[in-house]
């Protein structure tokens, strides 16, 4: 505020007037509103747990802990047990995590270690293009494009992945799976044949869905490794992969691990793709080709048609799922928080 306008405004008393009483009142009301809304987030989590927990109490009284160890689910006889579902949830999630983190961390390394620039400059050299500021920006652009493409994988709704898995993935892998079963049927992983939905298609789609989470968080962790460590390793004569495996990955390990744990939480709670692909069979199995069930899929498939007797039981199952995912998510958030505070301390 300089010049005649400012002085005019000052002399007109427009600026230096202290806030009026109403303004102060509005101010304190707004502040309280903000605090109240913020506190509502915590209240919401408590409410979620209490609401689901309260609705599960009748089932908990009736079935107790045997619900968790029981293996049969029969609404007609009112025998309920969710051991196969718990097993299915953990089994599919862990397998998906294995594939997802293998590919996800690889993509993170590829996107953070300047591979793009190397590849692009090699190609440019082949064509005899001399260095020019325009080409110099190309690798960065491509890296960003690839990163955005991988993030788009997360934007595709899970029900669309389910549809794709149902009509494309299952027919595609079925011959291979049945051949594996015919040849190596003695091996527990291949002990049944794939007749439609099953664990393997579910795992494939699930790992595609959690890959972007792992890639994004791992890439952030790798990029925030101090450059001097990389320089020092190269300066000592380490090859690129000796640097990556010996220096970068160990330094970024906490961030990467936090990302993997969060992705695990995602996989545990993922519903639609599994409800469509896992086959909905109450079976306790290690075979990759057998149909199975997960907690989330059980809820999705049984809730809409559940009778009054079944609702509390399903609430109990939801409570078990809630407990598992809350523990995993809190664990992951804590790890990431410590990883970032450590990185900032450096």
């Amino acid at each position: 505020m300089q010049g005649p306008d400012g002085i005019e405004a000052l002399s007109a008393g427009r600026i230096w007037k202290p806030p009026s009483k109403t303004q102060l009142l509005i101010d304190s009301a707004f502040r309280r509103l903000c605090v109240a809304f913020a506190a509502l987030t915590i209240v919401l989590i408590v409410l979620l747990v209490v609401e689901i927990g309260a609705k599960a109490i009748p089932a908990f009284r009736e079935h107790g802990l045997s619900f968790i160890w029981g293996r049969t689910w029969d609404p007609n006889r009112e025998v309920f047990g969710i051991l196969p579902e718990i097993w299915g949830t953990l089994y599919t999630s862990l397998l998906a995590l294995l594939f997802g983190s293998l590919f996800g961390v690889s993509a993170a390394i590829f996107l953070s270690e300047g591979y793009m620039s190397e590849a692009i400059f090699k190609i440019l050299k082949m064509f005899g293009v001399q260095f020019h500021p325009f080409w110099g920006k190309l690798p960065e652009r491509f890296e960003l494009l690839l990163k955005n493409l991988i993030e788009l994988l997360a934007a595709v709704p899970s029900v669309v992945y389910g549809l794709w898995g149902l009509f494309i993935v299952i027919p595609l892998i079925r011959p291979m799976c049945n051949w594996l079963h015919a040849q190596f049927g003695w091996f527990p992983l291949f002990s049944t044949d794939l007749s439609g939905p099953g664990i393997l298609p579910a795992v494939i789609v699930l790992s595609i869905m959690i890959l972007p989470t792992i890639t994004a968080i791992s890439r952030d962790a790798l990029v925030s490794v101090p450059p001097k460590l990389r320089m020092a390793a190269y300066g000592l004569g380490a090859t690129r992969w000796e640097t990556i495996l010996g220096v970068l990955l160990p330094t970024a390990s906490r961030g990467i691990f936090g990302g993997i744990v969060l992705a695990f939480g995602r996989a545990l709670g993922e519903t639609m793709a599994l409800a469509m692909l896992v086959g909905n069979a109450n079976r306790l199995t290690v075979s990759l080709f057998s149909p199975a069930n997960t907690l989330a899929a059980l809820l999705a498939n049984s809730f809409p048609e559940a009778g009054a007797r079944e609702i509390p039981v399903l609430m109990y199952a939801a409570l078990v799922l809630l407990a598992i995912t809350l523990v995993v998510n809190i664990f992951g958030a804590l790890i990431l928080e410590r990883a970032t505070s450590k990185a900032e301390a450096k």
Partner: protein, 325 residues
């Protein structure tokens, strides 16, 4: 090491002897006893070979990770595109074995429920973001809120549905668009809180201080300086949350259920009854043994993905504008 010591500038002779010494040292080979063939970049060395092979593996895996994205998009256009016509957007879902039909009510239902959820979450989420960005660094409430928002990001969507079922469907006595909207808002909230917080925190401190220095109250600062400056970032967050909510199926399965009809009862617009949505339509129709329904599911998936991706891109363009500024 003589080079590291400061040269005493005493006399010409001293300097000369020093120079000679330096020349002598340069003449001696500093790499004595080093076998250069060991250091050569050659594929016959296991170290180099290991490095090159891993490089190829990583490149291959990154490209392979992108295959599903293109495969999904290609199949959507291939199988969903065949069915695309204006009827899809205006007609109601067909009965089994009936030809034609569309999913106009499902598109409308998705828009209504996502809009409802957005209306609920924007005030809650943005004001929480304002609070978090302004709270002092050691505030216990702020870190607790931030932590719960992070935990909520990974909250399974089906449990939001279970919660809304228990809290709203059972209380109001029926499936409704309202229950669906509330279930979706639980999933949108953390995204909006966290992105608004970081957008507001990125507003330059000097702008905030200038506003307070001019005598503005905290509220005036928030409304006239912080929120307008952080608007692109906040809009990005809102768009990302909307895109996510539009694709969610699980929370709608037993809150909004599904319906083959428009959202009316007795000729009037009514939000308190079962409501169709694109996502649930895809789920329901994909499991049907009728060819027409499966084709409609693919077309609905194409429309849904287009909706989600466009919302995503619009959101990203907001944040790009902010970066350019």
């Amino acid at each position: 090491m003589s080079e590291n010591q400061p040269i005493p500038a005493s006399s010409q002779e001293d300097k000369k002897t020093l120079l000679h010494k330096a020349e002598d040292e340069a003449a001696r080979d500093p790499f004595e006893g080093v076998d250069f063939s060991e250091l050569e970049h050659s594929l016959y060395r296991p170290r180099t070979l290991f490095s090159v092979i891993l490089t190829w593996i990583v490149t291959g895996m990154t490209l392979l990770a992108l295959v599903p994205l293109f495969a999904v998009l290609f199949m959507l256009i291939w199988r969903g595109g065949q069915k695309l016509s204006l009827d899809l957007f205006t007609k109601l879902p067909p009965a089994p074995l009936e030809p034609g039909g569309g999913f106009g009510n499902a598109i409308l239902g998705t828009l209504i429920m996502v809009g409802l959820a957005t209306l609920i979450t924007i005030p809650l989420g943005v004001l929480t973001g304002v609070y978090l960005a302004q709270a002092p660094g050691d505030s216990k409430l702020a870190s607790a809120v931030r932590f719960s928002a992070k935990v909520l990001t990974g909250f399974p969507s089906i449990l939001a549905g279970v919660f809304a079922y228990g809290a709203i469907v059972l209380a109001t006595g029926g499936y409704s668009a309202i229950a669906g909207g509330i279930a979706l808002s639980i999933l949108m909230l953390p995204t909006i809180i966290l992105t608004s917080e970081s957008a507001i925190a990125m507003v330059p401190v000097k702008m905030k201080e200038a506003s307070i220095g001019l005598g503005a109250t905290t509220t005036q600062t928030a409304w006239m300086v912080l929120l307008p400056t952080a608007m692109p970032g906040i809009l990005t967050g809102v768009m990302l949350a909307v895109a996510r909510a539009a694709g969610e199926t699980a929370p709608l399965l037993f809150t909004a259920l599904f319906s083959n009809f428009w959202l009316t009862s007795g000729g009037r617009f009514d939000l308190m009854q079962p409501t169709a949505s694109l996502a649930v339509l895809i789920y329901n129709f994909s499991g049907m043994p009728f060819k027409n329904q499966v084709e409609l599911a693919w077309a609905a998936a194409l429309v849904l993905v287009a909706l989600v991706l466009i919302t995503n891109l619009i959101g990203q363009s907001f944040s790009r504008q902010q970066n350019l500024q």
